[in-house]
């Protein structure tokens, strides 16, 4: 069965510093991986996804994520954090082998807090 884990409930970073939000997954085969962000009282907003190809995926708002198959990880990164990046971040995985019935599984979320 597919699963995804976000080992950190909260990440605190000073503005201007690089940030990393961690995600690991478990899928038999090659996964489809997603990152979403959720601001207070808002729905989830798509940031980026990995399907195939280049392991480094670039997304919205200057975020990027690196797919590492050997470590089964898909960590979200940004070179220089902004206070406005403070939000709840969700990693998600889908097993592409069962396209007709597969569903996306979300992690429990990581709260990112950027201090001025």
């Amino acid at each position: 069965a597919q699963s995804v884990a976000q080992p950190e409930d909260q990440v605190n970073v000073a503005e201007g510093n690089p940030l990393t939000v961690k995600c690991t997954y478990s899928v038999s085969g090659n996964p489809y991986l997603f990152w979403y962000v959720q601001y207070p009282n808002r729905g989830l907003q798509f940031l980026l996804k990995y399907i195939t190809g280049d392991n480094l995926v670039k997304g919205s708002y200057g975020f990027e994520a690196e797919f590492n198959k050997s470590q089964t990880s898909f960590h979200l990164k940004k070179p220089s954090a902004l206070v406005s990046d403070s939000a709840l971040y969700f990693c998600a995985v889908r097993d592409p082998r069962y396209s007709s019935a597969s569903k996306i599984i979300f992690g429990s979320g990581t709260r990112l807090s950027i201090r001025p």
Partner: protein
Amino acid sequence: EAGVVQSPRYKIIEKKQPVAFWCNPISGHNTLYWYLQNLGQGPELLIRYENEEAVDDSQLPKDRFSAERLKGVDSTLKIQPAELGDSAVYLCASSSDRRSTDTQYFGPGTRLTVL
């Protein structure tokens, strides 16, 4: 392009009362999803529609929850009767088709409080 629209944004009801949530997906999106999001957790799929057909409702508690998407566009999720444990955010999402690579776009959600 308009995003996924949900209403109401907030709903407060007493236990045992019925409640309904409405979702209008992005125009042209054939696949529609209803998710449940408890506080501090990730969304969990309740039901997925391909056009009018519910193709995955295995996580929908069918004794009290029902959903419909009669014309393959708008959808309604209903709870009858509501229980205290149903307090959560109900998210609707849509995608252009059911392929695994397709991105899901989420609405703002309906926050339900059951007293």
